[in-house]
Structures are given as C-alpha cells and as structure tokens.
Amino acid sequence: MIDEQLIIFLSNVLAYVAIYLMVNVSLNFEYGFTGIPNFGKVLAVAGGAFVVGAVPGRILASQLNLFAGYRAVQDNPVLAECLSTLVQVKPKLMESIDYIEDNAVVVDCVRRVLVNDPLLSISLLVASVGLAALVGAGLGFIASYPSIRLREDYLAMTLLAMGEFLRQVGYLDRTLVGGTLGVAVPDPYGWLGVFRPYASTLIMLTVAVLFFLYVRAVTYSPAGRVLRAVRDSEMAAEVLGIDVVRVKQKVLVVSSMMAAVAGALWAFNSVAVIANTYDRFTWTFWPWVMVIIGGAGNNRGVLLGTLVFVILRQAILTYNYLLEPFIPFSIVWLDRLLFGIALIIVLIIRPQGIVPEKPTPAISFEKIRKMVQKS
C-alpha cells in the first residue's frame, strides 16, 4: 500500500517536474532574462492543449471516414469491431458520427487504429506538437501586439486578460474542445502498452531538458546579453541600436512556442482536454511562484524552484490523509494559502530567489587563462 502510493507520488512528481520545467523555462526566458511580465502564460499552454484536443482526433477520424457513420466504415475490420455493438444501442451512428457528441466513440475507434500502427502514432505526435508550436507562436504574437510598446504594467494586464479569454471560450463553446465535458484525445503512446506512462513522462522530460539547454545556450550567447540589456535598461539598449520591441516580440513568440509544446504534450499525457483545467492559477501563477522562489534570470534557480514546488505540492496532495485531521478545511485550498504566503515572504526578504542570478562570463575562464598565459 505504502509502496504503491510512493510509486504514484514519484511518477506524479516526475511528470509535473517535466511539464512545469518546460513552462517555467519559457517564463524565465521572458521574465527572468528579458523582463517581460507575462501574466498570460496560460494562453499559450491552453492553445497547445486545445490544438491537441481539437485537431488530431478530427483529422484522423475524417481520414478513416468515420464521420460518415458505421455503414461507410463497415469494411474496415478494426472500426467495424469498435462500432458494431454500439450501433445497436445508438442507431444514429449508422449514418453519421459527430466529433463532439460522440467523442468517446470517435476517440476509442481512433485509438484502436493507433495501437496497431506505431508509425502513425509517432507521426501524429510530432505533427500535433508542431502544429501546437505554430499556434502558440501566433497566440504569443497576437496577445502582446496591442501593448508590447507600452509600459510593463499595461503589458501585464493585457496578457492576463488574453490568457483568460481562451479558457473561457473553450469552456463555453462546445464545438472547440467539448466545453464543460471536455474531449478525449487520441493516444499516441497507446502502442507501447503498459510502458505508456513512462514513455509519455520520458518524452516530456526530454523536451524539458532540450528547452532548458536551449535557453541556457541562448542566455550564455551574445543574444543573451542583448536580452539582459533590454531587461535592465530599455533606453540604454535602444541607444546601443537594439530594436527593443522586436526583441521582446521575438522572445514572446519563442517562449509561447515552448509553452504551447508543453500544453500539447500535457494533453497527450492526460489523454483528455478539459478547458476549465487551463486556468490562470495552474498555468500562470504557479509557474510565477516557481520562477520567483527559485530565482529569476537563472536557469539553475528555476530548476531548483520547480523541484521544490512540485515535490512539496505533490506531497501535500498525495499524503493529504495524514494532514486532514489537523486542518479543518479542504486540502485543495491549503497549497494556495501556503504558496501565496511563501511568495510574499520571498519577495520581501529575498527577492532574488533561492539561487541569485550570477553574471555569466563572456568566454569561459579556461580560455581567459590561456589567453593571459599566451600574452
């Protein structure tokens, strides 16, 4: 019992560390290095997830001619097996199948096809994530366009509003991702059988590490110094001939891409998209908490912040029955209370976070030493 719980705890921690590392690294790229207060991080994450909820299932189903109903796909043994008993219960399925109304049926059939076809599964994963990245880039650009030239408080307010908009539309409009009920998502890891959760976590971790290394490489390069110049003094950066607005737009587009990839992978990981779970607490405020507590403008700090936050939060959620006798209210509100207070304390007492930002050397000390020895 205890061991089983520990395994659930550990696998949850790994999955959440992976997903939040992706989002946090992109937020750190925006805020920590460039100084853009993106309070609408949820926009790109939700965008990526909604792409996965809305597009791949529809495309695969229409490729399989599923929408034309059972009669049209009778010849396909896999689909016939999947639909034959259901048709007797719901005769409407003979003629036509709707993606939202009969979502469970459609996705079940698509999954059965995907289980036998690893190549299709992998290309589905890659294509969906790619599309999500494109959509994320577009969202990042559009959301910041009205206020990118203005002061950071205006930018923060606009981005927050934009972030909330997509969730509300996804929640209220059934045609996009099923509204209140959400949609199931075709499972690209289904062919791996029992290894599915591990494969999903492994992919997410790999992508997270890639993002981490990418941002690290950028921030150690001359481009990274441009970003810091924009952050520390816009006017000085402009004097030096840096197009501040363009730099900010580029950073927002790239980091929104990363966040959208994170959203897409998360949707594939949880094999469902429910619009209301993409709220500003989960995908904007928690990443901010992690980045600030860990130390903004610092890759190692963000990694540490993510680890600390995810482990603490998962520990609270997993072992809540141990805490329950001591607190008189539902455990879901405890994490907001605790991390809200922790964030304020960190901001007042140690605004640089656990690991403060260090100046990055232009070239490595080894090279400098060699150059000094030569001369």
Binding site: Y154, M157, S330, W333, G340, L347, I348
Partner: protein
C-alpha cells in the same frame, strides 16, 4: 401611479442586468484606478475585494437574516481591511526595499492566491455550519422592492453616482482631499509641504477596498455569486480601467459604465443579430475594448478631446 407601474413593467430585464453590472463595475474600476494613482501598481487582487463583499452579503442575509442593505457596512469595512493588509503588510515593505514594479505586481497576485484560499475555506465552512449553498448562490429574495422594482436596480446606480459626487467634494473641497491629490501628483513635494503622504495613501487604499466590498455585496443581490466571482471579474475591471485611461477617477467611472453597458447590452444585441452561439464570446468584448483602446488611444477616454479626435487617432497608432 398606475401609469408609472405600467412603465416600470416594461423595463427589459437585460437593462437591469446592464445597469447594475455597469454601476458596480464602475465602483470597482474607480478603486483600482485610485490605487494605481497612489502606488503606481495595478492591483491584481482587486476583484477579490468584491468577492469579500459578496460573501459578507450572503452571510448577513442568508445566515443571520439581517436586512440586506445593513451588510453594506461590514462589506465596506472588510473590503477596506483586506486592501489595508495588502498595502501595509505587502506593498509598503516592498516599496521601501525598492522592489521593481513587476515584483509588486506579483506580490498582489500572491495576495490574490491567499484571498481566494481564505474565501473558499470560508465558503466551505459556511456551507457546513449554516447548511446554505455558498457557491453559485442567488439571494435576490432578500432584496427590498422600491417602486415595484428590485431595490438594487435603484440603489446601485444611485450609490455609484453619489460616491463619485462625494469623492469630488472630498478631493476638491476638503483640506485632506487636496492633500491626497498633491500626494498623488508629486509625493516628495507634498511630503516637504507637511502632507502625510503615507497616511493619504493608506486612506485611499482603504477607501478603494471598501468600495470594492460594497460593489461586490450589491452584485450578490442580483447576480449568481461565488467566492471566485470577483477574481473572474478582474478582466472586465482591467479593461474598464484601461479604457478609462488610468489617469483619474472620473475616467475610471466613465470607463466602467461604458464597458459594463457594452458588455451586457452588446452581448445581447450580438446574440439577437447573429444567433445565440455568439454569446459565449462575451469575454472577448472587454479584451477587444482593451486592445482597441491601447492601439488607438493609449491614454484612454480622458485623453479624448472632441476637437482633436482625428488627430489623436492618427497619432495614437505610433505612440
């Protein structure tokens, strides 16, 4: 009297929605703008002050059976104390440590996390203790009726207008109000002239939070309330404040009324024109208003001079 009744009956229910929503939105926008003028930080937890007022109204009426309008006083005090806590315990230490604007904004978000947690814990406790629903509650039945109309339909706009009038008197006719304006315009100069800037700011934060609480408690008398209502309203408040220009409180009130009316009536008109499917895009209205204002008129409504409108539009894009 009979003719009057007839006239009253013909008021479209959506008009009531619009008037109540717009009046209360303007009070909230006024508070947000007032805070922004003093400390130059947009308060991301301002919406939750309204939720505090909402829960106060629910508690006073549904649990303690008090008259509805009596709970405006505790709502004002509780909202004001929440704002005071944010200003004195969170923002002032940050300002005295020269924290950046973004740090201050994040601190208000952290405060929002705490408020949401406290409000929801209270809502759970409330349901357990009084066996009354505390999420998605509707308490119109506790409202009084004035001239055959729901009281809040009369009192909400009256309160909004009289608040603006009293604030005008306070800011222009009293020594303290003129001092407050001076403290906003130029804090260091006002300080040298012997005005207690910190006290003026503390007062304005208390007032803004209190007005937020009052707005929330009146909203609870008409709309379906919940401990997260205010937090969801935040987008509309920001949009109204930006449309109003974040420059002075009259612009804020104008922006609040404009956006509140446009949001409710516009959604209905769109629904009638294009069919009900479009009404789910209601959240798009404040966001579009925000984007258009920022692109064309970044200083907001208050910068609109009728003679110079066209010049403004031409210049606005490049600003």
């Amino acid at each position: 009297m009979k003719r009057k009744r007839q006239f009253m009956v013909f008021i479209d229910p959506v008009i009531r929605d619009a008037v109540i929503f717009a009046s209360m939105l303007s009070l909230l926008t006024l508070g947000l703008t007032l805070n922004y003028l003093t400390t130059k930080v947009p308060n991301f937890s301002h919406g939750s002050f309204a939720s505090i007022g909402m829960m106060t109204m629910l508690t006073m009426t549904a649990a303690f059976n008090q008259p509805a309008y009596l709970s405006l006083l505790p709502a004002f005090l509780l909202g004001g104390f929440a704002a005071l806590a944010l200003y004195l315990l969170v923002l002032r230490p940050l300002i005295s440590r020269d924290a950046s604007l973004v740090s201050q904004m994040i601190a208000t978000i952290a405060f929002e996390l705490i408020l949401i947690a406290v409000l929801n814990i209270y809502a759970d406790y409330f349901t357990q203790t009084f066996k009354v629903q505390s999420r998605g509650f509707l308490i119109r039945r506790f409202d009084v009726r004035i001239l055959g109309e729901p009281g809040v339909f009369i009192i909400a706009p009256a309160l909004a207008v009289s608040t603006v009038f009293l604030l005008y008197l306070l800011l222009n006719k009293t020594r303290f109000g003129i001092g407050l304006r001076a403290a906003i315009e130029n804090p260091s100069l006002a300080g040298t002239l012997g005005i207690n800037v910190k006290r003026a700011y503390t007062f304005s934060w208390f007032l803004a939070g209190g007005l937020g609480g009052v707005a929330g408690s009146l909203l609870a008398l008409w709309f379906q309330g919940s401990p997260n209502y205010g937090s969801e309203l935040l987008i509309s408040i920001f949009a109204a404040a930006i449309v109003g220009g974040l420059q002075n409180i009259y612009g804020a009130v104008a922006g609040g009324y404009l956006l509140g009316l446009v949001e409710v009536l516009g959604t209905r008109q769109l629904g009638l024109t294009f069919g009900p499917w479009i009404t789910v895009y209601r959240p798009l209205i404040p966001i579009l208003a925000m984007a258009i204002t920022l692109l064309l008129l970044p200083q907001g409504l208050v910068s609109l001079r009728l003679r110079g409108v066209f010049k403004q539009v031409q210049r606005g894009g490049s600003e």
